[in-house]
Amino acid sequence: MIKDINEDVRALDTICVNESQLEHKWWHNLKYLVVGILFGIIFVKAEIISWFRIQEMFRLESFHMYGVIGSAVMVGLISVFLIKKFDVKTIYGEKIEFHPKKFNKGNIYGGLIFGFGWAITGACPGPLFAQIGSGATVILITLLSAIAGTWVYGYFREKLPH
């Protein structure tokens, strides 16, 4: 029963489903820390975490962010295509799995709400972490507020239209 709840709850979240069957020591997670560090450096250097770049994007004053997101999706698409075509395995020899996302109305309502927040803060969740690291310490409050927002969603989830 507990397992059923777990699966239902996890399935709603498109990212929260990937689970390795293998048990690893904790230090295996350090490789994600390294990828995160490189990712954070790219965020800073390409000014993706700049509030000004986000305003330019939404005010159609610059191509920069469209170029970043568009080319990232292109590379992602090609990579996923190649992984599927050549049945590329993980470094542990596991089959790489993809999880289809189920549509629900939250994709629309939540998407619009996140869009509002994105234009105000100039940041999606990833950049919030990078902005704090870059020295904008007050963004820690924005992050705590985002965690509170996630919590409030969890609290009211069953009452919200999905």
Binding site: D13, W51, S62, A72, G76, W118, I120, F129, V138, G154
Partner: protein, 187 residues
């Protein structure tokens, strides 16, 4: 070499590198690229409060917390090691627009006039810092993902719900930035 790295990177370098995160995470551990779920794992770890949505084995997702900790460190290193010596250039029309509201410091990644500790206790600052953050956290989880999980990972795997979500992210952003934010900045 260092000089080149210190300059702002163009989109055609940064975009493909970000796109490569998708296959890298899949190959090093079968992980789907996504960041906003880290906020959920933090809730599950710290304040689950018996809410079913937060009652799952968050420890299985701990890679995601390592990943975001890395992003924070990367933000620090990016600024400390490779900071751009030149002032950030912004579109002239944006400079004019922001000038009306007294925003003229482009040196930071966020405008220091809006986002600082003393602004937090003003109505405008509270809205920008606290309400903005709340909408990001609530909205991404309601939508089931953010720019990384939906726009990049979702579109890369041709998920149509992610396309819907991405269009809504953009629609919400356009509405806020063009129709609502000018009134708030004026405040």
């Amino acid at each position: 070499m260092l000089e080149t790295i210190r300059q702002p990177w163009p989109w055609y370098i940064a975009g493909p590198l970000i796109g490569l995160t998708v296959p890298v995470l899949l190959i090093i551990g079968n992980k789907s690229f996504g960041i906003s779920s880290s906020l959920r794992h933090i809730c599950a770890a710290c304040i689950p409060a018996n809410i079913p949505f937060f009652k799952y084995e968050w420890k299985k997702e701990i890679w995601n917390l390592f990943f975001v900790a890395g992003i924070l460190l990367g933000g620090f290193l990016g600024v400390q090691l490779f900071s751009n010596p030149l002032p950030i250039e912004i579109a002239p029309s944006l400079a004019t627009y922001l000038g009306q509201f007294g925003i003229s410091d482009y040196s930071g990644l966020v405008p220091s006039e809006l986002f600082n500790w003393s602004a937090l206790f003003t109505l405008k600052g509270f809205f920008m810092i606290v309400v903005g953050g709340f909408l990001v956290g609530f909205g991404t989880r309601y939508a089931g993902g953010c720019t990384s999980g939906h726009a990049i990972m979702g579109l890369s795997t041709l998920q149509w719900p992610s396309l819907v979500a991405t269009c809504c992210f953009m629609a919400g952003g356009f509405l806020m930035a063009n129709l609502i934010l000018p009134y708030i900045l004026k405040f």
